[in-house]
Chain length 226, copies 2
Amino acid sequence: MHQLCLPMGLGENDMDKLDQIIGRRRKVPRDSYLYRMDDVFTNLYAVRVGHFKTCQINAGGEQQITGFQMAGELLGMDAISTDHHHCDAIALEDSEVCEIPFARLEELFGTMPTLLRHFHRMMSQEITREQSAMLLLGNMRAEQRLAAFLVNLASRYVARGYSSTNFQLRMSREDIGSYLGLTIESISRLLSKFKKQGLLGVSNREIELLDITALKAMAAGTEACS
Amino acid sequence: MHQLCLPMGLGENDMDKLDQIIGRRRKVPRDSYLYRMDDVFTNLYAVRVGHFKTCQINAGGEQQITGFQMAGELLGMDAISTDHHHCDAIALEDSEVCEIPFARLEELFGTMPTLLRHFHRMMSQEITREQSAMLLLGNMRAEQRLAAFLVNLASRYVARGYSSTNFQLRMSREDIGSYLGLTIESISRLLSKFKKQGLLGVSNREIELLDITALKAMAAGTEACS
DNA sequence: CGCCGACTTGACATTAATCAAATGTAGTGG
DNA sequence: CCACTACATTTGATTAATGTCAAGTCGGCG
């Protein structure tokens, strides 16, 4: 976990200091909120175990999921600008996070430039992640979006030492649809279609990617559409 | 400009130090690149004069505009994570920026916590800005997107002391379409429709918002669609 | 067993894209 | 000043993609 999350390349000494401030762990049961939109911001959260989704609600009352977070990823960076959270964070399964009191983290920045640099990289990464999501939502067709989503999940599981081909979706079809800007029916149809084409196996939320190359090509738009 | 951009609430002394590192100004003629995707990252850029667009190109060769930047806004924060730019930045008109050598900025962070805090707010703001764009692209219908876009531009011009109702679009219809995930034809039709409905006046790139309330309601989805 | 929620599938409607053409605008050179 | 070109925009007709509505089906759980 330390590899994916904050520290990365800190000395022993600095590591200790960091460990001192990220004391408290917090369990978050399935479907419960880690934080809600407009809550006052005091902590960042590092996911230790489980999965989360973050979602916004617009004035019209519609929900959009802005991301899914898994172990080793950081939650709450969007709240720094206003000291209030801009979205809800909800556990997709029983999960656990580390609280990182932001004020104390800021104190460390003054003396630990390596930590600071790493923190900047993480915020920047969040920006590029969202730019990719914009590309997906603005430019891609339904088929491409779902392919890109699955390939992205696979790569994140690989980075965590899990199988790149077999994994369980932690989120509902509805969540996927919301994230990809599609309806639940479209997601369902596309999964069925991919299955029929032999690109993957699906059984409930169990996924087996059978032809990652084809899925990647589809995501990239490098493929003649069927 | 200092109000919108980096400093904000720094002491005289700190301000001087900051001014020392953001020495160089750079003129960027219309349609030319401030930086290109994959360029090595060395500087952030603060827009002094003019307007920019940032755009990504996906594997299929299609372009998506991820944002429009105006005076006082910061460019390049997405490059911190990999030391390479993730998008192209192109001037929409003859423009001018301040180069901010990031390595030197980082040196200042150690001794200027106020500057650091402000920098974090700006990165965080970039994250929330992009989350709003995701909401727009994922959830809104064409009409809502364009209304939201125009209202957003208006509010940014107000913040800069310009008219909230009369302004010039610096970008082409095609650019707007790319940003909103729509075609140029859709943008054109929608502008004509809004004009016919008396919501705004358009003449080439000159815009006059005649009923901001209605446009805001439309953007929020609070309006019965016509 | 029977209910409930999540998911699938089909028929149809709607939105926005595509294709095509016309119109307008800015810039250039005579 | 005007004709001419290149490009941006508008408008219309049609199509394709995805949403909506409506039944079903599946799986888990009391």
